[in-house]
Every structure is written in C-alpha cells, then in structure tokens.
C-alpha cells in the first residue's frame, strides 16, 4: 500500500483480550445487583385477558407496562414498540412481565408460576399474507423507465428471495441500570450510546442529561447491538427506578436468539429492459421486506435496499418501489449491510439471469455495463469520487481465473447426463457490489450532526472523546492511529475511553460503515487543530463538527440526489463443489477485491474481509431461521448453526489503492461491503454448478437435491 498508515500494527486491545482480562458487562464484579427474568408471550398475536401471579417473595418484584414512569415505548423511528406489552402481544417472545430479585433461581420459579390468559387472534405470519400492513413505503424514479420499457427490444423479469439471519455476536446482549439520586446510569454492550440515552429518557420521563450511558467492551455486534440495547436498557431502567436497586439483565443465548432483532427477509422483483445489443436500458425493482412485529429501524433498512437498485451498472432509467410489511414475528432490524445484501442479491442474480438469456458469461456482461466516475447513481446523484469497479472486476478475473473456470466447470442446461453420478459438481460465481458509507442523504448533516473532541494535557497525552465504540472492528486501534499519525505520537500516548455520554460529545452511532470515514475524518481534523496549537500551554481541547461536502445534494422528499457521501466497492468470486448424493455444498475458495479507500490498518481491514465473507457464506447456506406459527424453529445454537473453523474456505484478498477525499487519510467504510456480495456470488456458483438459476437464500442441501432432481 502506498500509504504507510496502512501498515498493520498489533491491535491495542490484543493483550487484554487474549489473556481474558477485558471485562465485558457480565464480568464486572458488583454487589447487591438484582437480576431479572422475563415472562414472554408464547402467542404470535393475542389479547391479554388476565395475568395471575404466584406468591412473590418479598425481595422480588414483578414489573409490567403499568410500572413505566414515562412513555411505554422504545424510541426508534415510529413510536409503536412497547417496553412491556400492554393489552396486546404481537409476536412470540414479546415481554409481558419482568421479575427482578437477588436470586436467579428464585426468579425462574416465579416466572414458571405466572399464568396469562389470552384471547388468540389470527396472526399474519408471512409477507405473502394479503392482510399484511405496511410499516414503511417509498418510491423513486430516475430517468424515464416507462419510455425505456416501451422501447425495449427485450424485457427480462425475475423474483428473488432471501431469508432471515441471527447475528450470533459471541457476547449475548446485556444491560445494567444503576439508579442515582438525580438520574440513572446505564452500562452495557452496545453500538449507540446516544440512542440508548434518548430511549431511556423518554421511558423514564427524565431530562436527557439525567441519563448517563456507558458502553462496556462489546463482544461483537454486527448491527445487532444498534437497536436492541435500547429495548433492554428501557426494561432495566424501569426496574431499577421502581426498585431503587441496580438491575442487571443479561440474556441467555436461547432468549437472545429468540427475541433480538433479525435480518429482514426479502422478496424482490426485478425487471430489466434491454436494447437489441442486450444493454440494460432500464431497471424496475420492487422490494418487499418482512419487518416483524414493530417498525424499529425498518424504514431506513428499506431505503438502503432500494438505493442499490441498479447495482454497479450504468442503467439510466430506474424505478424502485419498496415497502416493509408487518408480520407477527420477532422484529427485524439492523444487520451488517442493512438491506444492501438483499437488494444486491436480487440485482446480481438478475444480471446473471440476463447474461444466461443472452448466452454470454455473466462477468463479461457485467463488465460491459459498469458505472464510471461521474455517472449517475440509482437515485439520480453522481459518482463524484473516482470509481474503480472496472479495475476491481479485472483483478477479480485475473485472481480467480473466472472466465476459464466458467467454461470448464459447471453444468449446462440440456447437457446430456453426467457419466459419473457421484463426482462432485463444481461451479464458480461472482458478484460486483457497492456500499454507501455513512448515513443516507443529508442525515449526517441534518440528523446525526456529529461532534468529536480531542483533549491534550500538559504532558502531551491526547484523549479521544467520541461516542463510537470498539465492538471488535478495531476502532480502538484505528482511531488512535489517525491521531498518532497527525500528531506524531505513539499509540500508547493516546487514550480512547469507552464512550460515556456524560463525557463524550455525540459523534453518532457506530453503524453504517461510518465510524472511520465520517467520525475518523473529524478526529483527523481535530488532531490537525491540536497540531496547529501545539505551543499552547496546559490542557487544551479541539472540537470538530460534521460539515457536508458541498457537492452532496439530496432531496429527502423525492429520494433523489447523492444518497451517500462516498461508496466502497467490491468484487467477490466463489468456487463451490456440490456432492450430488447429499446436496451438500462446499465452498472451495473465495477471491475478493475491495476498494475501501486507504485502509487505516491492512490487518484490521483483512479481518473485516475474512469475517464478512464467512458471515455472508453462512447466511447463504448454513444459517436457516424459519418461523412456524410465528415461533422460531431454530431457537438455539444447536439448531441454528453458524460456520466453524471447518467451514472457512481459503480466501484470496486484495485491496485497491483508491484514496477517498471524504475520509481520513483517504479511508472509506470497510465493515459491510465485505459481506454484501458474498451471498450472491455463492448462489451464482451453485447455479453454475447445477446448470439452473438459483433465486432464493439460504440454499440448503434439500433444495440442491430438488434442483438436481428437476434436471434428471
């Protein structure tokens, strides 16, 4: 890499984590805390008629919606998600009561003695049910798709579906609420301390500044600790306020799987218009996401799914409609990629289908129609920064030998029966992707309004004060590297305390691949400010506020303009081997090329690449989450399997050298782009191996066998 900041260093948290000294929430010794156990609905949709309690020991307390001092609602975009169920339950696992007390075993007995009488109501369980009600809907048009479809030489349509996914961060969700004389303190595993503060302030009816939120070392999150910690914090805060004692809620793994937010299942229709040469002249995308019982962050997830309509291709005319439908299932929320993987899956599988119908290699077809610098985005903005997706595709082809393998591997439709019935079927697939870093449109300027602060003491030590958290992605190291580089310090001359809302300014949530690109840039500017003022004596501080680059234009009403400040890009190829007897798909190798701008640390980016790829392969194959009457069929880690060391394929990874003007030292977001294309590439490989298109995730052995059967 051209920039020496990219050179890998040992992570600052390596030693404490390896030796077991890092104290996560459940590891912090404390006296006199109350624990909690929930009584949850076992009905998908019902009216609560009556609740009867067993005898409750004097040192225990049972809490319900009636104990909420302020609003019984967890603040997201819409006020529909109760802290505790009121008259209705809308999904299995919805909390009705929380029992708190000193002894966990006693709590379990109390919960076991509770009975609730319900009047069952007919639930809506899937988005195919016509009774579904929308949680959000959007529609945008770029160019004149109507005219393009009318003039088309050929129109190709397809339907694509994806399933749910559980994050399985290794540390289960947890929150501690400590009541204080004049307010409350929350400590917990989370991505967004200021989201939690706002939620608790409304639930307790306390002024914002009376609510203090402190992040504890966070054992993985992947989006799963963006939304749900607010729910848990509200519940713990109510219990702590009512009892006057600290209340610690740590979810058991099964409970965590069953009640926390999931990835949105999707059903996406894609239609493209083509001229006589096969060029895509218009794309019409119609997206339906399953939002689960409450709105949560679904409208924003939907927007991200919609804004990748058109993928990385130069398609002048785009129409995209989308909606999130409510179902009586666990709430869907943030998960690495945030709608992008669903949208990209549909677009990429569709481009494969188009190439198949035109009789050319999918990669070749895609490479002919890639966007270039200055081209129009799906939402009618511009790709202002240098776009190197063509070079990414070139490198991907060279590294993987895609075209050669596409010819030699794989079965072709109509091919005479394979002679060796037991030989594995091999195939290669690919996907080309983009991922907008930072919040959508002008939200960084109008909603998030990040502020960062650096302090330098008289001994020259610098403290980074931001609300963004270390959750495994390496922020403790990368933020320090940025400051160290500007001020010519060593990493151990810089402190970066875990965010405490009483101490740090609000630099926004740790989401959307924004921490380095947006917040890191502000930190870089603050460090430059300190550098200019290096001769000032004593303790000084430098504060920076977000400024939107002047060329970014966005209209939030029509959803047109520049949807993101900048984009990360990637290309991924996957080779699979399928056992024709069992239908089991083995990923033999993965090649990945990414443009994440200047990596602030090559090894940390490598970690995002490797981890993102395996999580993407998991979603595409192993990770099956199904609902039966609104109840998860795979409610434990025994049934819901995630990839192990045995499932990890060899990965060849390269990074492009393409510094961004937006991020610090040229860096862009790297946390999500590594995930988004993998499921599509995997499905494309399976389709190639079998000689039939695959349009649905996850791909299970029984599906593979069905597809094979259909071929014989």
């Amino acid at each position: 890499m051209a920039n020496s900041i990219s050179q890998a260093v040992e992570r600052v948290d390596n030693r404490a984590k390896a030796s077991g000294q890092t104290r996560y929430l459940a590891d912090i010794p404390r006296e006199g805390v109350l624990h909690g156990r929930f009584f949850r609905s076992d009905r998908a949709r019902a009216r609560i008629l009556d609740i009867s309690l067993p005898p409750v020991p004097a040192d225990c307390r049972v809490l319900s919606c009636g104990d909420v001092p302020g609003l019984n609602v967890v603040s997201f975009l819409v006020d529909d998600w109760p802290v505790f169920a009121g008259k209705m339950v809308e999904h299995v696992g919805e909390p009705i009561l929380l029992v708190v007390g000193p002894d966990v075993e006693v709590l379990a007995d109390v919960v076991a003695g509770i009975t609730v009488a319900y009047e069952d109501l007919p639930p809506v369980l899937t988005i195919d049910d016509s009774r579904c009600t929308p949680q959000a809907g959007f529609d945008f048009t770029t160019g004149d798709p109507k005219a393009a479809f009318a003039a088309a030489d050929r129109i190709i349509s397809g339907e694509y579906k994806t399933g749910s996914q559980e994050h399985v961060y290794l540390e289960p969700q947890g929150m501690l609420a400590i009541p204080r004389q004049d307010g409350i303190t929350l400590q917990g595993s989370m991505q967004c301390p200021f989201f939690v503060r706002r939620a608790v302030h409304r639930v307790l009816g306390l002024p914002l500044e009376k609510v203090q939120v402190v992040q504890t070392p966070t054992g993985g999150a992947f989006g799963g600790k963006e939304d749900y910690p607010s729910v848990l914090a509200c519940q713990a805060a109510v219990a702590a306020t009512v009892t006057g004692s600290p209340v610690l809620l740590v979810l058991e793994r099964d409970e965590d799987i069953q009640v926390t937010c999931k990835r949105h299942p999707s059903r996406i229709l894609v239609r493209t218009a083509h001229d006589s040469a096969g060029r895509p002249t218009a794309m019409d995308v119609d997206i339906t996401l399953d939002g689960g019982a409450y709105t949560g962050l679904s409208p924003v997830v939907l927007q991200r799914a919609m804004f990748v309509a058109g993928g990385v291709y130069n398609i002048e005319n785009i129409r995209c409609r989308g909606r999130v439908l409510a179902t009586n299932t666990v709430v869907a929320g943030a998960f690495r990629g945030f709608g992008g993987p669903q949208g990209i899956f549909a677009v990429e599988m569709h481009m494969d289908q188009v190439a198949r119908e035109l009789g050319i290699s999918p990669l070749e077809y895609k490479r002919t129609h890639l966007v270039r610098t200055g081209d129009q985005t799906a939402t009618g903005g511009r790709y202002h920064s240098r776009v190197v997706i063509d070079q990414i595709a070139d490198r991907l082809e060279k590294l993987s030998g895609f075209e050669e393998k596409f010819k030699t591997l794989g079965r072709r439709p109509g091919e005479p029966g394979v002679t060796d019935q037991e030989a594995p079927l091999r195939g290669i697939g690919q996907a080309l992707v983009l991922h907008g870093a930072g919040f959508t449109g002008s939200a960084e300027r109008d909603v998030i309004r990040s502020t960062v602060k650096l302090e330098r003491d008289d001994a020259g030590r610098v403290t980074i004060l931001v609300s963004n958290v270390e959750m495994g992605q390496g922020l403790q190291t990368t933020m320090r590297k940025i400051v160290a580089r500007v001020l010519d310090l060593t990493l151990d001359e810089i402190d970066f305390p875990d965010p405490d809302t009483d101490r740090v300014p609000d630099s926004g949530p740790t989401v959307a691949s924004r921490s380095i690109m947006i917040v890191g840039k502000l930190v870089e500017r603050a460090a430059e400010d300190l550098k200019r003022r290096r001769d000032e004596p004593g303790t000084i501080s430098a504060v920076q506020h977000y400024r939107q680059p002047s060329h970014i234009q966005w209209d939030n009403e029509t959803l047109t303009g520049d949807a993101y400040p900048d984009y990360s890009w990637g290309g991924v190829a996957v080779q699979v081997a399928i056992d024709p007897l069992t239908g089991v798909v083995t990923t033999e190798k993965v090649w990945a090329v990414h443009d994440v701008g200047t990596p602030i640390d090559e090894m940390i980016v490598q970690g995002q690449v490797e981890g993102g790829i395996l999580q993407g392969l998991g979603w595409a194959s192993l990770e099956v989450l199904e609902f039966e009457e609104g109840r998860l069929r795979q409610g434990t880690l025994t049934d819901y399997t995630i990839p192990t060391a045995f499932d990890a394929p060899p990965i060849v990874s390269e990074l492009m050298d393409n510094p961004s003007a937006v991020g610090p030292f040229g860096a862009k977001g790297a946390g999500e782009v590594t995930f988004v294309g993998v499921p599509a590439a995997f499905a494309s490989a399976v389709g190639h191996a079998l000689g039939v298109p695959v349009t649905e995730l996850p791909i299970r052995p029984e599906h593979v066998l069905d597809l094979l059967e259909g071929l014989l």
Partner: protein, 156 residues
C-alpha cells in the same frame, strides 16, 4: 458440599452443590471471568478450560465431576511462556477482534499443541471446530496457531 480444587496450580476450597456448573463456580466463586459464557449449552467453546490435558466446556460439567483433576483457565495459562507465544502470534495474525471467543480459543490451541506440536491446517481446524468465532472468519486464527507452533519450537 466441600470441594478442594486444583485451580491454576493452587489448592482452593469451595463449598457448593456438586451439581453446580463448573463455569458458575469459576466465574462466580473463584472470580475467573476470563472464562466466558457464550451459550451455556456446550455449543460455542467460550467457556473452554483444561481439565488435566483435556479441553472441556466448563458450562457442561458439574463441580462434582472434576474434583480430582487439575483445572487450568486462561488466568492460569496466561502466566506461561507458551501463552505469550500464542498471544503474540494472535496479535501478529490479527486473530483477535471482539475478543469474546479469544480466551476459550487460546485454551483450545494449547490443548491441540500439547498433543501435536506441528499441526497442519486441517488438524488445527478440527481442533478449533468446537470454538465459535463470529468476527474473524477463523483463517487468521489458523495462521496464528501455525505461527505459534513455529515460533514456540521446543516449548510444546
């Protein structure tokens, strides 16, 4: 019931039910919170410890089952030279992200290296298959074990 356990090289007395989960005794009574609880069901390996030379999930054994065998947790193991080699190899390979799986993962590495001081990659993968990591994708951990085996030549 009273138990004397050989815990990280020291004799320690505990008074509890023989059915108490070893994990709870370690994390609670003994304050050894480097042993993590990721699932409580024997699926994730975050609670891995050594019982003698054997790697076990401490959430799956009862205190009454272990009283006669020495127990090593990450707290004890991290005082050894072997640990230092593994830790540095993890650091060099980028094998630690959120860190929640790491202590258990390191105990699994030690159990493997005790049996096989030059493991090949498939053997490493097999040995680590009971330890889930959701962050790293595992390859960097496999690299770390290979590095440790090389750099710690003679230690195992």
């Amino acid at each position: 019931m009273k138990f004397t356990l050989m815990l990280n090289g020291e004799q320690r007395d505990f008074d509890c039910e023989p059915t108490r989960r070893l994990l709870d005794l370690l994390r609670g009574d003994a304050g050894l919170t480097g042993v993590k609880e990721g699932c409580g069901q024997g699926e994730c390996g975050a609670c891995s410890i050594l019982l003698g030379d054997r790697l076990v999930n401490s959430c799956m054994v009862a205190v009454g089952q272990v009283a006669d065998r020495p127990i090593t947790t990450i707290e004890g193991y991290s005082r050894t030279t072997r640990f230092a080699v593994l830790r540095d190899a993890f650091g060099k390979a980028g094998a630690v992200q959120c860190g929640f799986c790491t202590p258990g993962m390191i105990m699994a590495c030690e159990a493997l290296l005790r049996q096989n001081n030059r493991p090949r990659a498939p053997e490493i993968r097999l040995a680590l298959a009971g330890n889930l990591c959701r962050c790293t994708g595992y390859n960097m951990i496999v690299d770390a074990v290979e590095t440790a085996a090389r750099e710690g030549k003679g230690l195992w």
